[in-house]
Symmetry: C2
Subunit: 338 residues, 2 copies
DNA sequence: ATAAAAAATGACAGCGCTATCATTGTCAGT
DNA sequence: ACTGACAATGATAGCGCTGTCATTTTTTAT
């Protein structure tokens, strides 16, 4: 264990350089451009680094090179697994390329989002990944001034110039509604909570399809702002059946609510799908296991993460980006519950 | 919008200083020690900062002050909500104190953990929060050399000198086993997957209790290394009932498996709890909603995050830390499934 | 053997910020 | 008016690293 010069007690490049008898810049090169340093020296430096437990100081590195190798990712929530999967995909791509992902959760709030943008901008990220397009103007301004590439996830850009990777929430909800219609249901309800832009887009998709079928009835829509949960699904099903008892199918805006509804049906002895068809959205892993198994829309969450990360990477490194918008589609998973 | 000097195009302290006609250090002070700068000047600086979209560069700040205001948090997984809650608690405490949390997921692998420790050490964190005590020796060495405070979460320290916040996994599993015994069950099985140290501790707790009752039978233990999931719970229940058909209670090492088992019982028409009692561990939100509702152990996940963060904070700021080990206990939630 | 090219290494400055110490201005108490 | 205390601001240096442009050494081609 050699002596340390630095104020922190941590080993520095300088320490390593002294120990191996070369200059600091050469040590730096041994890590960043190993091919530019002789085999033998590289090994000696590596050895010394291991001995001292040397770890490069990213702050200094970022400052000197003007590349932080950080990318910031903002998601609305981790409390359902949807975004966990997206983040997993993002992380995988960036780790492979030596970038560090910094993740923040904004709880579906544009205000919290702005605070996070500010907090993460302080890390001088080389790029940023945001969920959706629902940002404050002041946030947008901050991002413009930062001058870093931004890619939006989950929704598709309605505006020129924005990069986005996702799928059409509306089209997916239309597809599900049409599926229920194709099963002969006539009194199809839509139940949603946590009314973020994606939920509202699903609501529009439902309406489009149901109006087109000439079956729209406003009292079969139940929208509440509360945070989604399985427990809430049970509550909302009860409430719906009070206000529209003859409903023969319910399309929930996500699988959590749908699962809660399924449990409530079990408890009340409501036959699914005979008396009531139940559908969800997202296709969480559990939805295949429920009894009855849940009809839902499989969303490309992991893929959105991967593709958004790749797009951002290309933007950062100046590689060509063929399309500003990538639509990854969705799939209907028709199961026992309908 | 004023001109920018910096190489990145981002506004710097220097730019702000020029704009307001003061020195850079004064601008720095206006942000860090506002009370040391006159009211009027502070306002002008703030105004200029807002106009330019100035965001402090943490890298430079960390380098100069030798305090990164980062803390690193390593958890094994986010794919069940257990650690999401813990992380939420941690984040809350640190955000209040101006620290930035950097989170990494090690997928229950000590090797990945080491890679993450190295990656996060590069951020020169002021402290680190780790899950459990299952680290490689080389990881421990890295951490020692870094010379920053470490707090371990979820398990309680068996070794001198280590700081920890958690609860006794063994005692909790014993309590659950005793609960099943108290319900008159004689042929109690234990089923686990993802055999991390905490799962194994639960297995020991089960064994202690069941051996003490004189009812231990090795063929009622089913331990598999696969990752936990609801689907796996169904599979494992089937397998268990093949190898030990007369089992009258199953204690699953977590709620995910138990839920899968509950679904499988529904499918097969196995009466729960009459024919078979089912218990889980963790008390996820959904466990209250299942049919039948699931008996489980409520673990203080959020509180672990909060208390661990507080302890680490005290360690960082040099405040007194009364106890090196905080046991937050657990609670039995006896519900319909037993 | 010699020139030219390539590989290996180093000197220096500076990234954006803050710790430290110095300076100037302001005001109460005598 | 004069000292001392305090408030407000500034000058300087340096945190640990890397970009840039030398310089030295080795290899290759003639």
């Amino acid at each position: 264990m050699a002596s340390r010069a630095s104020s922190t007690g941590r080993a520095t490049l300088e320490d390593l350089a002294r120990l191996t008898g070369v200059s600091a810049i050469t040590v730096s090169r041994a890590f960043r451009h190993p091919e530019k340093v002789s085999e033998d020296l590289r090994r000696r430096i590596q050895q010394a680094a291991d001995d001292m437990g040397y770890v490069r100081n990213r702050a200094a590195s970022a400052l000197a090179s003007n590349r932080s190798m950080n990318i910031a990712v903002l998601v609305p929530s981790l409390s359902n697994l949807v975004f966990v999967e997206t983040v997993t995909g993002i992380e995988k791509v960036f780790r492979e390329h030596g970038y560090q992902m910094l993740m923040g959760v904004n709880h579906y709030s544009a205000e919290e989002e702005e605070a996070l943008v500010r907090a993460y901008l302080a890390f001088a990220p080389d790029g940023m990944l945001l969920t959706g397009f629902n940002h404050r103007d002041s946030t947008r301004r901050l991002l413009e001034q930062a001058g870093i590439p931004i890619v939006h996830m989950m929704e598709l850009s309605e505006r020129e110039g924005a990069y986005s990777v996702g799928f059409s929430q509306e089209a997916a909800a239309q597809t599900m509604t049409e599926h229920l219609l194709s099963r002969g249901r006539q009194r199809i309800a839509f139940v949603a909570s946590q009314l973020d832009p994606r939920t509202l887009a699903r609501n529009r998709g439902y309406r489009d399809a149901i109006i087109r079928a000439g079956l729209y009835e406003s009292h079969r829509e139940l929208l509440v702002p509360d945070q989604s949960s399985v427990a809430l699904g049970a509550v909302l099903l009860k409430r719906l059946l009070e206000q529209a008892p003859d409903t023969d199918a319910v399309f929930f805006c996500n699988d959590d609510l749908a699962q809660g509804a399924l449990f409530e049906c079990l408890r009340q002895g409501i036959a699914v799908p005979d008396r009531l068809a139940v559908a969800g959205f997202n296709d969480l892993a559990i939805s295949e296991c429920t009894v009855p198994s849940l009809t839902t829309i499989k969303t490309p969450r992991y893929e959105v993460g991967v593709e958004a990360a790749r797009m951002l990477l290309a933007l950062i490194e100046g590689d060509p980006v063929p399309r500003k918008m990538i639509d990854l589609g969705f799939q209907l998973r028709a199961r026992e519950s309908t």
